[in-house]
Amino acid sequence: MPHPDRRAVLAGLGAAIAAPRLARAATIRDGAGREIQVPGKVERIFPAGPPAAILVYTLAPDLLIGWPRANRPEEREFLLPGIGDRPEVGRITGRGNSANLEAVLQAKPDLIIDSGSTGRTYVELAERVQQQTGIPYALLDGRFDQTPASYRILGQLTGRSERAETLARWCEDSFATIRGRITAIPAEKRPSVYYARGPRGLETGLGGSINVETLSFLGSRNAAADTPGSGLAQVSLEQVLAWNPDVIVTIDLAFAESVRSDPNWAGVKAVREGRVHLSPKLPFGWVDFPPSVNRAIGLWWLAKLLYPAQFPEDIRKLARDFHTLFYQVTPSEAQLDRVLAGRG
Amino acid sequence: MSLVASALSYGYREREIGRDIALDLTGGQVLALLGPNGHGKTTLLKTLLGLLPAKGGTLTLDGQPLAGLSVGERARALAYVPQVHAGTFAFAVSEVVLMGRTARSSLFAAPSAHDRDMVEAMLQRLGIEHLATRPYTEISGGERQLVMIARALAQEPRYVILDEPTASLDFGNQGKVMSQIRRLAGEGLGVLFTTHDPNQALRYADRALLLRDGQALASGKASDLLTPERLAALYGVAIETVRGDGKLAFLPG
């Protein structure tokens, strides 16, 4: 038996030592600070929930395996054909875990993406799913102002850094422009906003809730902000009258239609002054949910509602551009009308 | 005027408990249903009260088939004194007796003054008027039995049917309750009671029916019927007889 070549042995050893180094070089930190191995190729991404699905769709629609919940026809027409109608695959996180891990595996994803809370519960869930399935599971920080960072991580993971950078920049530029125009506005000139949900308009987001992140971003005075908590709560109409908000933003069509003629609401300043606004929600909501990049265009919309003098931009143009860049479908005028009417 | 059963068979839907019962309860008379426990006495009582449908034979109340009467009609003729129980809610004694007026007033009616007078009269008749406001759950077993009898009398029935009226009573209370029962017959009511104690049947009943395995071993005048031989057959044990002062008593074993 011939002696092994000394150099070959050394090279082998070197490779053995170098290999983990190489692998380490191909890892990045996700939104929760976890180290994720960048897959060699990413052709199929499983979204753990609606926010992740939207993020993946806007960056790399072809990679999206499916949607946590099938899109309705009126939503699909704003999305790329062949992608907006991809099948329902369920959720991994969120309040109902409706995706079966075997079904996840059967979908043969190269990567699982989740966007939302980076709290311990979700970190541990990510770890566990990653271990059980052997598929890298990246957890992105779902907070609104972290959207650019999430795009960049996702760009690196999928090898689509260039488009990720474009989208991240669009967000950052928007943030900077909007912040720049409102910092000068003194606190007392900022309108107080009541965010109304539910058919009676008596559900609202507390100060720290993800539902009113963009309102907080805009420095408006959230009527319910003084109440500690980070979720939704019910309030009495009497309390709304006491708050007497300057502006009401709602996502509920029934409420938006009834509030203007409801004598009980007639005393509220926002109603008196015609400042009740129904949020657009096609294909995804502009204000509240799903809490993903869809709220970026909502940020402009809200900025115009709250500070009309500072934001002369045409919302139609902004919306058309946003749709074209992020959803990669340019809506027709008729479609834009429908979006802006807040129906759907 | 009597409660008459002939060739009566009785029991539950899927199970016959007894058959071939013939009995005749008339006003002013006390009939004892005597037998060991678990031989169908209570089931027979419920059948005689119309609470269980008869499985065969005939059962008539004052000439009319019992099954053809409404619950209200039955309750105005037949009163039931169940075995004493504590009850769930702490009704006052007078309220318990007032429930006896159910069949005497309409469905939605509040108790009338007459109803309340009747309650008072029945409490007095049984010598328990001092208990009127006491919670039924807090009085003694003997007192409860008297309250149950008062409730039955408040129904103004023609017949009173008592299930083991002395089963859970102490010695003194047994005497009290049994002499009240005797008094009812004296006032013209037909009284039927179940017991497993032949001495009670002997002492307080005019007639007796010996029930074993759901069948009548014998029936007839209590003093003639109750012999050590028949009792031995009824209970399956030897019976000792004690005599004295012209009276008779039985001892088991």
Partner: protein, 336 residues
């Protein structure tokens, strides 16, 4: 003074105090003087010359809500009394036969299908009635043993099935919009009550309450063992159906209007028995007054304690539990 009169007087005073407090308190400041003027103008018909908003707050927001709280509290209390008597068990509450779970399932289905407010209320109401109807139908096909016990067991079984149904609909629901709405509904609240909500509440509650009050003298006998009640001349079968139907009607209507509010139907009957004893003739009116006052006081707390509403179901449990324990500890022998 008889215990009944005293009990009703206490209940009435408590209710009046609760009404007064409920009108006076709220997140929107209304001065006591203004409140007095509003009541004066209501009595005399003279205009109050107060800002319209104050009138709105008092008559259109507090008023309907106060009435709804009283109706729901009274309804749950008398339904609790009726069911406790019927099932001869003082630990029974109005949802024993699935009225609440059925209504809850109806409501979450309504929310899931994005029905309107009235639709959801109707779905809840119908759900409650259907659930109890199903329990009764299934229970009556089982002809073994005590019919009352069979009914309770059927109620428990059907109730847990309904609970699974609620869970399933929540699981299907959109987590951003429908799920919070369902959660709020299930926790119970009168937050949105407006005048139009009162009609679907008032009608069934009045009908059910009138039936129960009319039958209250017979309910004493219904609380006896089945055969004893029949021997006293009561047609227990039809009467039980009438009582269950009436109690279910009021329960379903109040659950449809206010969501799931536990404890009222359990605790208030005890409190009322404590005051006037178990006789239903006296118990039902007292329980209705007490229940109305109790829920009104709780609802006033729910809407004034913080800028956001505290769910009623949580408050009734937090207040009800220690109260119930105290009642158990201080009750004389047996159930007073």
């Amino acid at each position: 003074m008889t215990s009944s009169l005293r009990g009703n007087l206490i209940a009435l005073v408590l209710l009046a105090l609760a009404v007064l407090a409920a009108f006076a308190l709220g997140r929107f400041p209304v001065a006591p003087g203004d409140l007095g003027r509003l009541f004066w103008s209501l009595l005399t018909g003279e205009p109050s010359s107060l800002p319209a908003q104050i009138e709105t707050v008092v008559w259109n927001i507090r008023g309907p809500r106060i009435l709804a709280a009283i109706l729901c509290g009274a309804a749950l209390a008398i339904a609790g009394c009726a069911f406790q008597g019927l099932f001869r068990n003082p630990l029974v509450s109005p949802d024993i036969l699935g009225a609440s779970s059925g209504a809850a399932l109806g409501a979450v289905i309504g929310i899931y299908l994005s029905l309107g407010l009235f639709g959801i209320q109707l779905a809840a109401f119908v759900g409650g009635l259907v659930a109890v109807g199903a329990v009764y139908a299934v229970g009556s096909t089982i002809r073994r043993g005590d019919p009352v016990l069979v009914l309770v067991l059927t109620g428990v079984v059907v109730g847990s099935l309904l609970g699974a149904g609620i869970g399933l609909v929540k699981y299907w629901a959109d987590p951003y919009n429908q799920l919070p709405a369902m959660t709020f509904w299930l926790l119970g609240s009168l937050a949105g009550t407006a005048k139009p909500d009162l009609i679907p509440l008032l009608g069934p509650v009045l009908i059910g309450a009138v039936i129960l009050l009319a039958l209250r003298w017979r309910m004493n006998v219904m609380s006896l063992p089945e055969e004893e009640a029949r021997a006293l001349g009561l047609a227990t079968g039809p009467l039980r159906i009438a009582i269950v139907a009436a109690a279910t009607l009021v329960t379903a209507a109040s659950v449809a209007a206010a969501g799931i509010i536990g404890w009222v139907g359990l605790v208030v009957p005890h409190l009322a028995r404590f005051l006037v004893g178990p006789d239903f003739g006296r118990l039902l009116p007292t329980a209705a007054l007490l229940g109305g006052g109790y829920l009104l006081a709780i609802d006033t707390l729910a809407r004034t304690a913080a800028p956001v509403e505290t769910p009623l179901g949580i408050l009734t449990a937090v207040i009800g539990t220690p109260f119930f324990i105290w009642l158990l500890a201080s009750a004389r022998g047996g159930w007073s």
